[in-house]
Amino acid sequence: MNDALEKTLDEDVFAHLHASSALGAPLRHMHMRSGWLALLAIAGAGLFCWLAIWVVSGDSLTLDIAILRMVGDYRALPLKSLAPESFADYSYDAGSRFDESRFQGFSFEGIYRILSPYTDPIGLALYVEPTVGPNLRELESKAIVQKNFLDDRLVFAANLTLAQEMRWMKTDLNGSGEPASWDRETDLNLGIGVSYRFAPNWSAGIELEHEREYSSFHLSKKYRTNVATYLGPNIHYGGKDFFVTATFLTQVGGGKDYASDAGSSFVVGGRNYADDFEKDRLRIKAGYYF
């Protein structure tokens, strides 16, 4: 029997990364994933949350409804900061309080497992997630590699992610009156993680994510804009009817802002504070089996 098309419940010991061993669960099972919540903890200024509900709708297909909620007080930030990228088309004063919510869009998430970490030397899966929203078109693709040790209690995973997105900009960010247009961007991310099941039902580990952003669909030096690296712990509980996984990431040094000159750089103390790069990120996944 080939398990490559097993229904994926996406129970994962990682919250930011994906493992290729997302469980094969019967189709009758529903999947709910409560998305990610990132906290701009710098000066205790802002709270940025993104809640999403995913519902399994097929073998390896997930219907995803994302609702974005952002609350923040940027007056306390030590630099001229932008609102999160999802609000890039909003007009606001950078030094004032920003408090908005918006519907982000619908996504379809599909994972196809080519090699199983349980029956092959490594696990390998391909992931694709197109997103369509009122102001957003995005295609996120991942190659997921996994290697297990110690009776599958110790899990290593690596993700290479390519996300190409277009955002509808009513005006350009500088307010120079340019006509509305689709703003193009590519994110190229490399994530690695490890998780160990230290007790029945419980796993914990570390995840690292290195992110590179380009202002085009072309990945050349000419278009690179921002670089940031995140590191932090994760914890997972898998029960009979539900699971919860949480990962907290904090941005470590090495941030780069290639798009700005030295005077207006979004990099402070080695961290990048551009619109897609929070200081801290917390993501929680939760699932319940019917």
């Binding site: 094969g24 669960a25 919860v244």
Partner: protein
């Protein structure tokens, strides 16, 4: 940072495992595999050399050196073992004939919400007659169960380990 504390509460509030499903206790499993037979407790502990040899022969980790074994009057062995499941351990019993071949396997305790097909007598019957000379490889001489790959793999590995244990430390 203090704003983050509330997020961990749901995780902290979750108790440890409480949903074990027991299908057989030891006596019931003994009667299912060796009906009417008299069994004598004969637990043993593998030494390091034996454990290493079993691991080398099978490429399966010897996680617990204690072998919970009963000898069957008239020949045969009854062993209770545990393997790692997705969330918890799977407890199962293996009955060996006097010649060390598999007589019957029963899942005693299975705690996962799915993958229960490993209890299917047809799937377990694949092991009947197997000896330590058999490959005992999932998707080889043992069929996989879609949706229960991890449980299938670990039970297959567990039986392989016990058959090597018979060769190295029991007969």
């Amino acid at each position: 940072m203090s704003n983050l504390k509330w997020v961990w509460l749901p995780v902290a509030a979750i108790s440890t495992s409480v949903y074990a499903t027991t299908y057989f206790n030891v006596e019931q499993a003994q009667q299912a595999i060796f009906p009417g037979a008299k069994l004598t407790k004969s637990f043993l502990v593998l030494n390091d050399k034996q454990a290493d040899e079993i691991a080398n022969r099978t490429d399966v980790n010897v996680r617990n050196k204690e072998v919970r074994m009963w000898r069957v009057d008239g020949g045969g062995y009854f062993i209770v073992d545990e393997v790692v499941g997705k969330h918890e351990f799977i407890t199962y019993a293996v009955g060996l004939n006097a010649d060390g071949s598999v007589k019957q396997i029963e899942i005693m305790q299975y705690n996962e919400s799915y993958g229960y097909q490993v209890r299917d007598p047809k799937w377990l019957a694949q092991f009947t007659g197997k000896t330590s000379a058999a490959p005992l490889k999932l998707e080889g001489d043992i069929k996989n169960i879609s949706g229960a790959t991890l449980s299938s793999r670990h039970i297959t590995d567990g039986v392989k380990r016990l058959l090597a244990t018979y060769d190295v430390a029991i007969r």
